[in-house]
Protein backbone atom coordinates (compact mmCIF):
# COMPACT_ATOMS: atom_id res chain seq x y z
CA UNK A 1 0.00 0.00 0.00
CA UNK A 2 2.81 2.39 0.84
CA UNK A 3 4.35 1.81 -2.56
CA UNK A 4 1.08 2.66 -4.27
CA UNK A 5 0.74 5.78 -2.16
CA UNK A 6 4.14 6.94 -3.38
CA UNK A 7 3.47 6.05 -7.01
CA UNK A 8 0.03 7.64 -7.14
CA UNK A 9 0.45 10.41 -4.57
CA UNK A 10 1.23 13.24 -6.98
CA UNK A 11 -1.51 12.25 -9.36
CA UNK A 12 -3.96 11.95 -6.50
CA UNK A 13 -3.11 15.52 -5.51
CA UNK A 14 -4.00 16.63 -9.01
CA UNK A 15 -7.27 14.70 -8.86
CA UNK A 16 -8.22 16.17 -5.51
CA UNK A 17 -7.30 19.65 -6.72
CA UNK A 18 -9.33 19.26 -9.88
CA UNK A 19 -12.48 18.01 -8.21
CA UNK A 20 -12.37 20.64 -5.49
CA UNK A 21 -11.99 23.31 -8.19
CA UNK A 22 -14.89 21.85 -10.12
CA UNK A 23 -16.95 21.86 -6.96
CA UNK A 24 -16.09 25.51 -6.27
CA UNK A 25 -16.91 26.60 -9.82
CA UNK A 26 -20.21 24.73 -9.75
CA UNK A 27 -21.31 25.84 -6.31
CA UNK A 28 -20.45 29.52 -6.71
CA UNK A 29 -20.68 30.36 -10.43
CA UNK A 30 -19.58 33.84 -11.39
CA UNK A 31 -18.50 34.95 -7.94
CA UNK A 32 -15.19 36.64 -7.24
CA UNK A 33 -14.75 34.66 -4.05
CA UNK A 34 -14.52 31.51 -6.13
CA UNK A 35 -11.31 32.73 -7.71
CA UNK A 36 -9.67 33.39 -4.35
CA UNK A 37 -10.75 30.03 -3.07
CA UNK A 38 -9.28 28.42 -6.19
CA UNK A 39 -5.95 30.13 -5.53
CA UNK A 40 -5.87 28.97 -1.93
CA UNK A 41 -6.64 25.39 -2.88
CA UNK A 42 -4.01 25.60 -5.58
CA UNK A 43 -1.35 26.74 -3.15
CA UNK A 44 -2.21 23.79 -0.92
CA UNK A 45 -1.94 21.40 -3.86
CA UNK A 46 1.39 22.88 -4.91
CA UNK A 47 2.66 22.45 -1.37
CA UNK A 48 1.53 18.83 -1.32
CA UNK A 49 3.20 18.12 -4.65
CA UNK A 50 6.34 19.89 -3.47
CA UNK A 51 6.38 17.74 -0.37
CA UNK A 52 6.12 14.52 -2.37
CA UNK A 53 8.79 15.75 -4.73
CA UNK A 54 11.13 16.63 -1.90
CA UNK A 55 10.61 13.28 -0.15
CA UNK A 56 11.03 11.20 -3.30
CA UNK A 57 14.12 12.96 -4.66
CA UNK A 58 16.10 11.77 -1.70
CA UNK A 59 14.53 8.32 -1.79
CA UNK A 60 15.51 7.88 -5.42
CA UNK A 61 19.02 7.05 -4.30
CA UNK A 62 17.95 4.14 -2.07
CA UNK A 63 20.01 1.00 -2.16
CA UNK A 64 17.07 -1.21 -3.01
CA UNK A 65 16.57 -0.90 -6.77
CA UNK A 66 12.82 -1.33 -6.75
CA UNK A 67 12.33 1.16 -3.94
CA UNK A 68 14.43 3.70 -5.79
CA UNK A 69 12.46 3.02 -8.96
CA UNK A 70 9.16 3.49 -7.19
CA UNK A 71 10.36 6.68 -5.55
CA UNK A 72 11.51 8.09 -8.86
CA UNK A 73 8.17 7.21 -10.44
CA UNK A 74 6.39 8.96 -7.59
CA UNK A 75 8.63 11.99 -7.99
CA UNK A 76 7.96 12.20 -11.71
CA UNK A 77 4.25 11.90 -11.00
CA UNK A 78 4.42 14.75 -8.51
CA UNK A 79 6.31 16.90 -11.00
CA UNK A 80 3.74 16.28 -13.69
CA UNK A 81 1.01 16.91 -11.18
CA UNK A 82 2.65 20.23 -10.34
CA UNK A 83 2.43 21.35 -13.96
CA UNK A 84 -1.16 20.18 -14.26
CA UNK A 85 -2.14 21.89 -11.01
CA UNK A 86 -0.65 25.19 -12.15
CA UNK A 87 -2.46 24.91 -15.49
CA UNK A 88 -5.61 23.99 -13.63
CA UNK A 89 -5.44 27.24 -11.71
CA UNK A 90 -4.81 29.33 -14.82
CA UNK A 91 -8.52 29.89 -15.55
CA UNK A 92 -8.94 31.60 -12.20
CA UNK A 93 -6.29 34.15 -13.20
CA UNK A 94 -6.69 34.44 -16.97
CA UNK A 95 -10.48 34.38 -17.27
Amino acid sequence: MRAWAIVLGGLAVWAAHFFVLYGIASAMPGRVGARWLVLIVTLAAIAADGLILWRTIGAGRRADALEAWIARLGGLGAALSLVAVVWQAAPAVAM
Binding site: V83, W87, A90, P91, A94, M95
Partner: protein
Protein backbone atom coordinates in the same frame (compact mmCIF):
# COMPACT_ATOMS: atom_id res chain seq x y z
CA UNK B 1 -28.62 27.58 -45.14
CA UNK B 2 -24.90 27.29 -44.93
CA UNK B 3 -22.91 28.20 -47.96
CA UNK B 4 -19.91 25.92 -47.89
CA UNK B 5 -16.99 27.58 -49.63
CA UNK B 6 -15.12 29.48 -48.28
CA UNK B 7 -15.52 27.60 -44.99
CA UNK B 8 -17.75 29.90 -42.93
CA UNK B 9 -15.52 29.43 -39.89
CA UNK B 10 -12.69 31.04 -41.85
CA UNK B 11 -14.92 33.74 -43.34
CA UNK B 12 -16.14 35.67 -40.29
CA UNK B 13 -18.62 38.51 -40.51
CA UNK B 14 -18.69 39.89 -36.98
CA UNK B 15 -16.73 40.53 -33.80
CA UNK B 16 -17.84 37.28 -32.15
CA UNK B 17 -16.57 35.23 -35.05
CA UNK B 18 -13.35 36.77 -36.29
CA UNK B 19 -11.24 36.24 -33.15
CA UNK B 20 -12.08 32.56 -33.52
CA UNK B 21 -10.96 32.66 -37.12
CA UNK B 22 -7.63 34.10 -36.00
CA UNK B 23 -7.44 31.36 -33.40
CA UNK B 24 -8.25 28.76 -36.04
CA UNK B 25 -5.38 29.89 -38.22
CA UNK B 26 -3.00 29.95 -35.25
CA UNK B 27 -4.07 26.44 -34.31
CA UNK B 28 -3.75 25.15 -37.84
CA UNK B 29 -0.26 26.63 -38.04
CA UNK B 30 0.64 25.16 -34.65
CA UNK B 31 -0.63 21.74 -35.68
CA UNK B 32 1.29 21.87 -38.93
CA UNK B 33 4.50 22.91 -37.15
CA UNK B 34 4.26 20.24 -34.45
CA UNK B 35 3.42 17.63 -37.05
CA UNK B 36 6.51 18.65 -38.95
CA UNK B 37 8.68 18.27 -35.84
CA UNK B 38 7.26 14.82 -35.03
CA UNK B 39 7.55 13.62 -38.60
CA UNK B 40 11.10 14.91 -38.83
CA UNK B 41 12.02 13.01 -35.67
CA UNK B 42 10.31 9.89 -36.97
CA UNK B 43 12.04 10.23 -40.32
CA UNK B 44 15.44 10.57 -38.68
CA UNK B 45 14.69 7.61 -36.41
CA UNK B 46 13.84 5.39 -39.34
CA UNK B 47 16.02 6.61 -42.18
CA UNK B 48 18.60 8.91 -40.60
CA UNK B 49 22.31 8.32 -40.52
CA UNK B 50 24.03 6.75 -37.54
CA UNK B 51 24.66 10.10 -35.83
CA UNK B 52 21.19 11.45 -36.39
CA UNK B 53 19.69 8.26 -35.03
CA UNK B 54 21.91 8.44 -31.99
CA UNK B 55 20.58 11.92 -31.30
CA UNK B 56 16.98 10.86 -31.67
CA UNK B 57 17.44 7.67 -29.69
CA UNK B 58 17.64 8.09 -25.94
CA UNK B 59 15.66 9.41 -23.03
CA UNK B 60 16.70 12.99 -23.78
CA UNK B 61 14.44 13.18 -26.82
CA UNK B 62 11.54 11.87 -24.74
CA UNK B 63 12.09 14.68 -22.28
CA UNK B 64 12.57 17.33 -24.94
CA UNK B 65 9.93 16.22 -27.42
CA UNK B 66 7.45 14.68 -25.07
CA UNK B 67 7.60 17.07 -22.14
CA UNK B 68 9.50 20.34 -22.59
CA UNK B 69 8.33 21.20 -26.10
CA UNK B 70 4.61 20.47 -25.46
CA UNK B 71 4.87 22.27 -22.12
CA UNK B 72 5.92 25.48 -23.82
CA UNK B 73 3.47 25.24 -26.71
CA UNK B 74 0.53 24.18 -24.59
CA UNK B 75 1.10 26.80 -21.90
CA UNK B 76 1.04 29.51 -24.53
CA UNK B 77 -2.07 28.07 -26.13
CA UNK B 78 -3.82 27.63 -22.81
CA UNK B 79 -3.36 31.27 -21.84
CA UNK B 80 -4.43 32.43 -25.31
CA UNK B 81 -7.48 30.15 -25.27
CA UNK B 82 -8.57 31.12 -21.79
CA UNK B 83 -8.29 34.86 -22.31
CA UNK B 84 -10.12 34.57 -25.63
CA UNK B 85 -12.86 32.50 -24.02
CA UNK B 86 -13.19 35.09 -21.29
CA UNK B 87 -13.32 38.03 -23.69
CA UNK B 88 -15.90 36.33 -25.91
CA UNK B 89 -18.12 35.56 -22.95
CA UNK B 90 -17.82 38.88 -21.17
CA UNK B 91 -20.88 40.19 -19.43
CA UNK B 92 -23.94 41.17 -21.42
CA UNK B 93 -24.71 44.89 -20.98
CA UNK B 94 -28.46 44.47 -20.88
CA UNK B 95 -29.49 47.22 -23.29
CA UNK B 96 -28.97 45.14 -26.44
CA UNK B 97 -31.80 44.16 -28.70
CA UNK B 98 -33.12 40.79 -27.56
CA UNK B 99 -34.65 37.96 -29.50
CA UNK B 100 -35.86 34.68 -28.08
CA UNK B 101 -35.18 31.71 -30.28
CA UNK B 102 -36.73 28.43 -29.32
CA UNK B 103 -35.58 25.19 -30.89
CA UNK B 104 -38.42 22.90 -31.85
CA UNK B 105 -38.43 19.60 -33.72
CA UNK B 106 -37.32 20.62 -36.48
CA UNK B 107 -37.62 24.40 -36.82
CA UNK B 108 -36.93 27.56 -34.84
CA UNK B 109 -39.46 29.81 -33.15
CA UNK B 110 -38.36 33.44 -33.20
CA UNK B 111 -39.76 36.16 -30.96
CA UNK B 112 -38.43 39.75 -30.96
CA UNK B 113 -38.65 41.07 -27.41
CA UNK B 114 -39.37 44.57 -26.17
CA UNK B 115 -37.59 46.27 -23.28
CA UNK B 116 -39.58 44.24 -20.77
CA UNK B 117 -38.76 40.93 -22.37
CA UNK B 118 -42.25 40.60 -23.87
CA UNK B 119 -42.50 39.23 -27.41
CA UNK B 120 -43.71 41.85 -29.88
CA UNK B 121 -42.97 40.29 -33.25
CA UNK B 122 -43.39 36.59 -33.98
CA UNK B 123 -41.62 34.80 -36.74
CA UNK B 124 -39.84 31.55 -37.49
CA UNK B 125 -36.64 30.25 -39.00
CA UNK B 126 -35.15 33.63 -39.80
CA UNK B 127 -33.77 36.52 -37.85
CA UNK B 128 -33.36 40.14 -38.92
CA UNK B 129 -30.68 42.15 -37.20
CA UNK B 130 -29.20 45.60 -37.62
CA UNK B 131 -25.62 45.86 -38.84
CA UNK B 132 -22.90 46.77 -36.35
CA UNK B 133 -24.80 46.15 -33.14
CA UNK B 134 -24.69 43.20 -30.83
CA UNK B 135 -27.94 41.30 -30.55
CA UNK B 136 -28.61 39.03 -27.60
CA UNK B 137 -30.35 35.76 -28.33
CA UNK B 138 -32.20 33.90 -25.61
CA UNK B 139 -31.84 30.30 -26.64
CA UNK B 140 -34.45 27.87 -25.36
CA UNK B 141 -35.86 24.54 -26.31
CA UNK B 142 -39.43 23.37 -26.49
CA UNK B 143 -38.71 19.65 -26.73
CA UNK B 144 -35.28 18.08 -27.12
CA UNK B 145 -31.77 19.52 -27.20
CA UNK B 146 -30.91 21.59 -30.25
CA UNK B 147 -27.89 23.73 -30.93
CA UNK B 148 -27.94 27.14 -32.55
CA UNK B 149 -25.10 27.80 -34.94
CA UNK B 150 -24.53 30.61 -37.42
CA UNK B 151 -20.82 30.09 -38.03
CA UNK B 152 -20.07 33.38 -39.76
CA UNK B 153 -21.41 35.27 -36.74
CA UNK B 154 -20.53 33.11 -33.73
CA UNK B 155 -19.78 29.67 -32.41
CA UNK B 156 -22.65 27.41 -31.45
CA UNK B 157 -24.62 27.22 -28.24
CA UNK B 158 -27.04 24.51 -27.17
CA UNK B 159 -30.74 24.92 -26.53
CA UNK B 160 -31.58 22.80 -23.53
CA UNK B 161 -35.02 22.12 -22.08
CA UNK B 162 -35.42 23.83 -18.73
CA UNK B 163 -32.55 26.24 -19.35
CA UNK B 164 -32.01 29.54 -21.11
CA UNK B 165 -28.64 30.16 -22.72
CA UNK B 166 -27.63 33.63 -23.84
CA UNK B 167 -25.67 34.20 -27.01
CA UNK B 168 -24.46 37.34 -28.67
CA UNK B 169 -24.18 37.82 -32.38
CA UNK B 170 -23.23 40.80 -34.46
CA UNK B 171 -22.84 41.29 -38.18
CA UNK B 172 -20.56 44.02 -39.44
CA UNK B 173 -21.90 44.01 -42.97
CA UNK B 174 -25.35 43.57 -44.47
CA UNK B 175 -26.06 40.17 -45.88
CA UNK B 176 -27.52 36.75 -45.31
CA UNK B 177 -25.83 34.30 -42.98
CA UNK B 178 -26.79 30.64 -42.94
CA UNK B 179 -27.17 28.58 -39.82
CA UNK B 180 -27.95 25.02 -38.91
CA UNK B 181 -28.94 22.92 -35.93
CA UNK B 182 -25.79 21.25 -34.69
CA UNK B 183 -27.06 18.93 -31.96
CA UNK B 184 -28.65 15.72 -33.12
CA UNK B 185 -32.36 16.13 -32.45
CA UNK B 186 -33.76 13.03 -34.11
CA UNK B 187 -35.57 12.52 -37.43
CA UNK B 188 -34.82 15.23 -40.00
CA UNK B 189 -32.18 16.93 -37.85
CA UNK B 190 -30.15 17.20 -41.06
CA UNK B 191 -32.74 19.56 -42.53
CA UNK B 192 -33.03 22.13 -39.76
CA UNK B 193 -31.55 25.31 -41.12
CA UNK B 194 -31.78 28.97 -40.24
CA UNK B 195 -31.05 32.36 -41.80
CA UNK B 196 -29.83 35.57 -40.25
CA UNK B 197 -30.34 38.67 -42.37
CA UNK B 198 -28.41 41.78 -41.45
CA UNK B 199 -29.75 45.15 -42.62
CA UNK B 200 -28.40 48.65 -42.49
CA UNK B 201 -29.83 50.44 -39.48
CA UNK B 202 -32.50 52.43 -41.32
CA UNK B 203 -33.76 49.54 -43.40
CA UNK B 204 -33.89 47.48 -40.25
CA UNK B 205 -35.91 50.12 -38.40
CA UNK B 206 -38.35 50.33 -41.29
CA UNK B 207 -38.78 46.58 -41.36
CA UNK B 208 -39.36 46.34 -37.64
CA UNK B 209 -41.79 49.24 -37.65
CA UNK B 210 -43.77 47.62 -40.44
CA UNK B 211 -43.85 44.31 -38.63
CA UNK B 212 -44.87 45.85 -35.34
CA UNK B 213 -47.68 47.66 -37.12
CA UNK B 214 -48.72 44.46 -38.82
CA UNK B 215 -48.80 42.49 -35.58
CA UNK B 216 -50.90 45.16 -33.90
CA UNK B 217 -53.19 45.89 -36.82
CA UNK B 218 -55.59 43.97 -39.06
CA UNK B 219 -54.38 41.32 -41.49
CA UNK B 220 -54.03 42.15 -45.18
CA UNK B 221 -57.22 41.47 -47.11
CA UNK B 222 -55.74 38.66 -49.14
CA UNK B 223 -57.72 35.97 -50.90
CA UNK B 224 -60.94 35.57 -48.84
CA UNK B 225 -61.42 32.00 -50.01
CA UNK B 226 -57.84 31.22 -48.94
CA UNK B 227 -58.47 32.75 -45.52
CA UNK B 228 -61.57 30.67 -45.10
CA UNK B 229 -59.80 27.50 -46.20
CA UNK B 230 -56.85 28.25 -43.93
CA UNK B 231 -59.28 28.03 -41.05
CA UNK B 232 -61.41 25.15 -42.30
CA UNK B 233 -58.61 22.89 -43.52
CA UNK B 234 -57.13 22.87 -40.05
CA UNK B 235 -54.06 25.03 -40.72
CA UNK B 236 -55.13 27.41 -37.98
CA UNK B 237 -54.89 24.67 -35.39
CA UNK B 238 -51.12 24.73 -35.60
CA UNK B 239 -50.28 28.08 -37.15
CA UNK B 240 -50.90 31.63 -36.06
CA UNK B 241 -51.53 34.65 -38.20
CA UNK B 242 -51.76 37.84 -36.17
CA UNK B 243 -55.11 39.59 -36.26
CA UNK B 244 -57.03 36.52 -37.42
CA UNK B 245 -58.63 33.63 -35.63
CA UNK B 246 -55.67 31.46 -36.55
CA UNK B 247 -53.74 31.21 -33.32
CA UNK B 248 -52.21 27.73 -33.30
CA UNK B 249 -48.87 27.53 -31.55
CA UNK B 250 -47.63 24.09 -32.54
CA UNK B 251 -46.13 25.18 -35.84
CA UNK B 252 -44.28 28.23 -37.11
CA UNK B 253 -46.00 31.60 -36.91
CA UNK B 254 -47.16 32.55 -40.42
CA UNK B 255 -47.86 36.25 -39.88
CA UNK B 256 -44.89 37.19 -42.05
CA UNK B 257 -44.63 34.05 -44.16
CA UNK B 258 -44.95 35.92 -47.44
CA UNK B 259 -41.77 37.89 -46.86
CA UNK B 260 -39.62 35.06 -45.52
CA UNK B 261 -36.52 34.11 -47.40
CA UNK B 262 -36.84 30.40 -46.79
CA UNK B 263 -39.31 27.62 -46.16
CA UNK B 264 -39.11 24.34 -44.28
CA UNK B 265 -36.65 25.77 -41.72
CA UNK B 266 -34.04 27.30 -43.95
CA UNK B 267 -33.94 24.53 -46.52
CA UNK B 268 -35.92 25.91 -49.45
CA UNK B 269 -36.11 29.33 -51.08
CA UNK B 270 -39.54 30.81 -50.47
CA UNK B 271 -41.50 31.23 -53.69
CA UNK B 272 -44.90 30.31 -55.00
CA UNK B 273 -43.81 26.89 -56.17
CA UNK B 274 -42.10 25.81 -52.97
CA UNK B 275 -44.81 27.28 -50.79
CA UNK B 276 -47.44 25.31 -52.61
CA UNK B 277 -45.35 22.18 -52.78
CA UNK B 278 -44.62 22.43 -49.07
CA UNK B 279 -48.31 22.76 -48.19
CA UNK B 280 -49.24 19.97 -50.59
CA UNK B 281 -46.79 17.40 -49.32
CA UNK B 282 -43.92 18.60 -47.16
CA UNK B 283 -43.20 14.98 -46.23
CA UNK B 284 -41.73 14.39 -49.66
CA UNK B 285 -39.30 17.24 -49.11
CA UNK B 286 -38.48 16.91 -45.41
CA UNK B 287 -39.52 13.43 -44.30
CA UNK B 288 -40.95 13.05 -40.80
CA UNK B 289 -41.40 16.75 -40.18
CA UNK B 290 -44.44 17.47 -38.05
CA UNK B 291 -46.65 18.91 -40.81
CA UNK B 292 -48.97 16.35 -42.37
CA UNK B 293 -49.31 16.18 -46.16
CA UNK B 294 -52.38 17.98 -47.53
CA UNK B 295 -52.92 15.87 -50.59
CA UNK B 296 -56.66 15.81 -49.89
CA UNK B 297 -57.01 19.49 -50.70
CA UNK B 298 -58.41 20.09 -54.14
CA UNK B 299 -56.33 21.91 -56.68
CA UNK B 300 -58.21 25.12 -56.40
CA UNK B 301 -58.13 24.97 -52.62
CA UNK B 302 -54.40 24.50 -52.57
CA UNK B 303 -53.97 27.46 -54.89
CA UNK B 304 -56.22 29.62 -52.78
CA UNK B 305 -54.35 28.86 -49.57
CA UNK B 306 -51.04 29.51 -51.28
CA UNK B 307 -52.27 32.81 -52.64
CA UNK B 308 -53.53 33.78 -49.18
CA UNK B 309 -50.24 32.98 -47.52
CA UNK B 310 -48.25 34.84 -50.14
CA UNK B 311 -50.10 37.96 -49.01
CA UNK B 312 -49.04 37.57 -45.38
CA UNK B 313 -45.97 39.73 -45.22
Amino acid sequence: MLEGWPPPILDPAGPYAWPVTVLSWVLLAMAAAVLLVVFAALWLALFGGERARQRVGGTRIVWLGGIVFPLVVLTALLVYGLTLTASLSERIRGDEMRVRITGEMWWWRVAYLDGDGQPVIHDANELHIPVGEPVVLELESADVIHSFWVPRLSGKLDMIPGRRNLMRIQADEPGQFGGQCAEYCGGPHALMGFVVIAHEREAFERLMAARRAREAGPPPAGDPRGAELFASAGCAACHRIAGTDANGLAGPDLTHIGSRKTLGAGILPNNRGTLMGWIGNSQAIKPNNRMPPYTMLSAAELRAITAYLEEQR
